[in-house]
Each structure stands twice: as structure tokens, then as C-alpha cells.
């Protein structure tokens, strides 16, 4: 028994190594003194310092954060509404279709999503004059289209676990439907809303393909800057930047995970 457990740990170690050694290397090399990304010549934090003076990178990062936050907020609103419709409105007409359409962005190749959105934006600009040009607005809208699907999945599972009689009890005690939603439903699904928001934020921050399609001049997001600079030869600054992104993303995922775990016992209690 001890032997087989020992083997299990080995498998786990190999699996984790496969997943995380590349990331670890990236973080280690961000502290490399040498300009050459693959040759270690000593510890230094100078690339982090240089990163702070790289206007282009910082602007792109700020743009990405703004897009990600706006996207996450809208995605949470729309995704929650969609989840509500699916969980709470029974078998309405076209429910299956709605469900399929909602899930489609999860599996749609990004290239297709990007291209079709580009076509849409160009057509709209010609016919209704909005959105004028491509940039922050178009990228954000594009991100909302797929983030909503992810948020809907997260919120939906939380909503369907929730005891329906809680809402009925609130109504029975005299709360009108809107009041029931605000004081009972929302607080109880709040952890799902927050983890949905963080998920949407991260998805948007990462996105390269769709952004490239719908971005315009002067609206270069962080992944786009990174990608283009890598093609021209990797600077250790990118490593430094990537390390920061890894840090932010892992904190976000950790927080989202903790939140949904903390809420689990409370949900079971009822």
C-alpha cells in the first residue's frame, strides 16, 4: 500500500512539473541579468525597472485592464440574466435554442468569432455609423460576447443549487419579486457573480486572437504588444511582465476558488 502511494505521488509530481515548469522557468529568467533570454548570467531585477519605463507596454497594459474590467462587469450582468432565464423560467419556448446559442462561444474557434465580429463592426460603421472606428469599444464588445457564456455557466450552476423555497419564503413573508431578488437571491449567488467577474476579467486580459481582429490603430492590448515584440526577438522585459501577469492571474483564481469554497458549507446547511 505504501509503495503504490509512493507511485501516486510520483505521477502527481510529473503531472505538475509538466504543467508548471515552463511557468517557473519564465519567472526565474525574469530575474536573469543577461539580455539573452536563455543564458543565465546572474540575479538582477533590472528588467522590472526597465519595464516601468516602457511607455508602450504600460499603455497597453492599462488599456487591457480597462477593457477587462468593463467586459467583466457587462458579462456578469448579461450572464446572470441568461442564467436566470435558464434556471428560473422553466421550459420556455426556444429554451434549447437559447441554451445552444449561449454555449456556442465556448466552443467556437476564436478566429471565426474574431472575423465575424470584425465584419459586423465594419458593416455597422457603414450603415449606422457606430461604432466609429475600432478600438476600446469594439474590443470590449467582442470580449463580452464570449465572456457572457462563461459567466452564465458559473452563475447557472450556483443558481440551480439554490433552494427554491428560500425565495418562496421571502415572497410569502411579503417581499415583492424584485425585493426577493435583491435581498435573497443576489446575496446568495454573490460568490458566483464574483468568481464569474474574475473569470471574465482573466479571459479578456489573455485574449489575443479576437482582439487582433477587432482592434484598430492606437488600441493595442497587452497580449498584442507581447506577441509582436516576441516576434522581433524576446526581451527579458517580457519575462518580467509575464511574471507579473502570472502573479495577478493566480491571485485572482485563488480568490475566486476560495470564495466558491467558502460558500459551499452555507449552501449545504440549507
Amino acid at each position: 500500500m505504501n509503495r503504490s502511494r509512493w507511485k501516486l505521488y510520483l505521477f502527481l509530481a510529473v503531472g505538475l512539473a509538466f504543467l508548471y515548469i515552463p511557468v517557473l522557468l519564465l519567472v526565474i529568467y525574469s530575474f536573469n541579468e543577461s539580455r539573452l533570454v536563455t543564458v543565465w548570467s546572474g540575479f538582477s531585477t533590472k528588467w522590472y525597472g526597465e519595464l516601468l519605463h516602457n511607455r508602450q507596454l504600460l499603455d497597453a497594459a492599462w488599456l487591457s485592464v480597462r477593457i477587462a474590467a468593463t467586459n467583466a462587469t457587462f458579462a456578469v450582468i448579461l450572464g446572470t440574466l441568461a442564467a436566470n432565464a435558464l434556471v428560473r423560467h422553466g421550459n420556455f419556448r426556444g429554451r434549447t435554442g437559447f441554451q445552444l446559442l449561449l454555449a456556442a462561444p465556448l466552443v467556437m474557434p476564436e478566429v471565426i468569432t474574431g472575423l465575424s465580429l470584425l465584419l459586423l463592426f465594419v458593416t455597422m460603421e457603414h450603415t449606422v455609423g457606430w461604432p466609429a472606428g475600432r478600438g476600446f469599444t469594439t474590443i470590449t464588445i467582442a470580449h463580452i460576447t464570449f465572456s457572457t457564456a462563461f459567466v452564465a455557466v458559473v452563475v447557472r450552476s450556483r443558481l440551480s443549487q439554490m433552494d427554491r423555497s428560500l425565495e418562496e419564503a421571502a415572497m410569502d413573508l411579503g417581499a415583492r419579486p424584485l425585493r426577493v431578488y435583491m435581498s435573497i437571491t443576489l446575496p446568495l449567488i454573490a460568490p458566483a457573480l464574483l468568481s464569474g467577474w474574475l473569470l471574465a476579467f482573466t479571459l479578456s486580459l489573455d485574449d489575443l486572437v479576437i482582439s487582433s481582429f477587432v482592434a484598430g490603430p492606437g488600441s493595442t492590448t497587452l497580449p498584442m504588444v507581447v506577441y509582436s515584440s516576441v516576434r522581433m526577438g524576446v526581451s527579458p522585459q517580457i519575462n518580467a511582465l509575464a511574471s507579473i501577469v502570472v502573479l495577478i492571474v493566480s491571485v485572482a483564481v485563488l480568490v475566486a476558488g476560495l470564495l466558491s469554497m467558502r460558500q459551499q458549507p452555507a449552501a449545504k446547511a440549507n
Binding site: 428560500l166 410569502d172 413573508l173 435573497i184 446568495l188 452555507a266
Partner: protein, 378 residues
């Protein structure tokens, strides 16, 4: 014995002039093609502890939910205190419901849970605090006021749920399996507490239960439901002693059902030839014509050991003890009287078990009196 006027006060359903507090008038509820509640009419009077009793899926919960306003009847009207509430939504009805799961809000403390309904009524803060204190004191849970529901035991949660539903001083309290989530011992003490509470505050209670013992102990009247319909509405005693349907007799407690045919009648007395080949003489409250196929229902405790068994004796059967269920206070003897039929007889264990008169494989004759059972047709 109480005089008729007092009796009417205690049993308003006996008084033809009494106005019902809740009137369910030909109510039907369909889910798709399924009739959950099928043309039910029912009057419930002020101050009653009324139970809807039936197995799961008989429509009792749906009926309760329609009273609460959580379901809309497909047809029929519901009146509470004389007003038609059929189209009034749950949040405007003078009715509160205690849910089977208790449905305590997990993100609120006990105090906030109890206060919730009062807040919806925009009751001033000071009055609200007073009422909450009153309710917590009534149910003896004042020391739990700052706890969250997940820090409470099952019995404590039940009290909080009760306090929350009572806080608004509803005219009518609905309880969906109020004791279903408690363990057996707690349930017995909770039954008495619930009845005492109801008598003290004088609110009309309507409860739903599948537990016949619970219904018998607590209720002023019971409605036995099956397949969306009400079969019989009566006091617990009448339901037990004078069931009107085989289903009711069978559902409440144990019963022996002898099939037979009426062969002779005189006034309210009938003579029945049973399929066991034995003759039974019974009092029949709804006299049946000669030749009618009937069922004689006799409770196991109404049977006695017969000392003078006769081959053509009336109200007597004989068989062999096949099973004994020892319950401490009583034992249930299952006696094989024919290849198809087991008769159950309950005897009080007057003597310790080792000295019991009856044992497995023993032949025993049993008898009963003409007034200790009922004659049923369906």
C-alpha cells in the same frame, strides 16, 4: 358532556350557521395533463388545527401552496376570511407558511430572519425590535438571536422558522411537514409544543403531513387525500373509528378487511356472509341492500381471544399464529386464517413476554363485537 352550544363552539364544523374561515371552492390544479388537485372543496374554521393527510404525490402540498399563493389554481376559488384571494399574489396574502426545509435565509442571523417579514411591511424599527424579541421569547430561542442558520440544530431551526412565520401575526398559518425534518423523539415533544402554541395564540393552522400519527395527535380535523381528491374530512377519532373508504381505513393505522356480501338486514344491523365462509353481524351506519358486496373493517385492537369458538359462530375467526411483532407495550399477532388472508390482532402485554399466552404455530380463535368495526363498500 358539554351542552350543544358549547360543543358547537368547540366543533364549529357541526354548526350549520358557522362561517368558514378558509373556503376552498371546487379547486383544481393541473400540471400539464396531470391533475395534482382534482375538484377539491373544503371548509376550515377559525382556530382549527387542520391536517391534510396523504401519501406523497396525493396533492396535499399543492393544495397548501395554493392557499399560500405560491401556485395558482387552474380552476375554482379560494376564500380567506370571506375575501376571494384566488388572484392575490403570495406577498399580499394575510397568510404565512412554514416550509418543510424551513427555508431559513442562510446569510442572515436568527434575528434578521424573524425580522424579514416585518421589514417588508415597513414596520417602524422600534416596533420591529419589540416584535422580534416577543417572538424569540415565545419560542424560547432568545439566546440564539445572533447565530446563523448553519450554527443551529434541527430543532432550533424549526423554532426559528416558526418564529419567522408567526412574527407577522398571520390570520392563517400553513405548515408543510412541520416536523418532518426532526428525529423521532424530538418530533413527539414538538407535536405537543406545536399544539400548545396554537391554542395559546389562537391562529388557524393548516398542516400537511404524511405521518398519520402526527395528524392524529395534533389535529382538530383531518382531510385524507388520495390522487388529488379528498376522501374524508373528519375528527381524528371519526377517521380512525368510522372510516368511510377502504383507502382511509387502510391508510390510518392497521386494519383487517374481510370481504363479503350482505345477506340479511334489520334497521341498522346487517348480517354478512364473508368470503372466509363465516358470518358476521355488524352495525351498519349506512344500511346496504341485501346482496351488496361489502368489506368489514376491524382494527387489530378490537379483536379478542375467543374462549367459546363455535363452528358456525358469528363474528369469530380461527387461525394459526404466524408472526409476532413485540413492541414493548403491545404485541401484534399475525394469524393465518386462510391461505390468502392474515389477520392482525393487537394484545396488550399484561405479562412479561416469556409468560405470554400465545406463541408461534399456536391455534387461536378471535372474536369481536358488532359495534367495533365498520362496513364499507369502496
Amino acid at each position: 358532556m358539554a351542552n350543544p352550544a358549547e360543543r358547537r363552539k368547540l366543533e364549529p364544523w357541526q354548526d350549520p350557521k358557522a362561517a368558514p374561515y378558509v373556503r376552498i371552492d371546487h379547486v383544481t390544479k393541473k400540471f400539464g395533463d396531470v391533475y395534482a388537485v382534482d375538484d377539491v372543496s373544503l371548509d376550515i374554521f377559525q382556530g382549527e388545527f387542520f391536517s391534510l393527510l396523504g401519501s406523497s404525490g396525493c396533492g396535499k402540498s399543492t393544495l397548501l401552496r395554493m392557499l399560500a399563493g405560491l401556485e395558482r389554481p387552474s380552476a375554482g376559488r379560494i376564500y380567506i376570511d370571506g375575501a376571494d384571494v384566488t388572484d392575490i399574489p403570495a406577498y399580499s396574502r394575510p397568510v404565512n407558511m412554514m416550509f418543510q426545509s424551513y427555508a431559513l435565509f442562510p446569510h442572515m442571523t436568527v434575528e434578521q430572519n424573524v425580522e424579514f417579514g416585518l421589514k417588508q411591511d415597513r414596520m417602524p424599527r422600534k416596533e420591529r425590535a419589540e416584535r422580534v424579541g416577543e417572538m424569540l421569547a415565545l419560542l424560547q430561542i432568545s439566546e440564539l438571536r445572533r447565530r446563523k442558520p448553519d450554527q443551529l440544530s434541527g430543532g432550533q431551526r424549526q423554532r426559528v422558522a416558526l418564529a419567522r412565520t408567526l412574527a407577522k401575526h398571520p390570520k392563517l398559518l400553513l405548515l408543510d411537514e412541520p416536523l418532518g425534518a426532526l428525529d423521532k423523539r424530538l418530533r413527539e415533544s414538538a407535536q405537543f409544543e406545536l399544539v400548545n402554541l396554537q391554542e395559546r395564540i389562537g391562529i388557524t393552522f393548516v398542516t400537511v403531513t404524511h405521518d398519520q400519527e402526527e395528524a392524529m395527535t395534533m389535529s382538530t380535523r383531518i382531510a385524507v387525500m388520495n390522487a388529488g381528491q379528498i376522501l374524508q374530512v373528519d375528527t381524528p377519532t371519526a377517521i380512525y373509528e368510522y372510516p368511510e373508504y377502504r383507502f382511509v381505513a387502510d391508510f390510518i393505522g392497521l386494519v383487517n378487511l374481510f370481504d363479503g356480501r350482505v345477506v340479511e338486514t334489520q334497521d341498522d344491523q346487517v348480517l354478512i356472509e364473508s368470503s372466509l365462509g363465516r358470518r358476521m353481524h355488524m352495525r351498519d351506519l349506512h344500511p346496504h341492500a341485501i346482496g351488496t358486496p361489502v368489506t368489514v373493517a376491524i382494527r387489530p385492537e378490537k379483536l379478542q381471544i375467543c374462549a367459546t369458538y363455535q363452528e358456525n359462530g358469528i363474528n369469530q375467526v380461527k387461525g394459526v399464529v404466524e408472526d409476532i411483532a413485540y413492541l414493548g407495550d403491545v404485541s401484534i399477532y399475525r394469524v393465518r386464517v386462510s391461505p390468502e388472508m392474515l389477520v392482525e390482532m393487537t394484545l396488550t402485554n399484561v405479562h412479561p413476554r416469556t409468560e405470554q399466552a400465545l406463541t408461534w404455530g399456536q391455534e387461536v380463535a378471535m372474536e369481536w363485537s358488532p359495534t367495533s368495526g365498520v362496513v364499507l363498500t369502496e
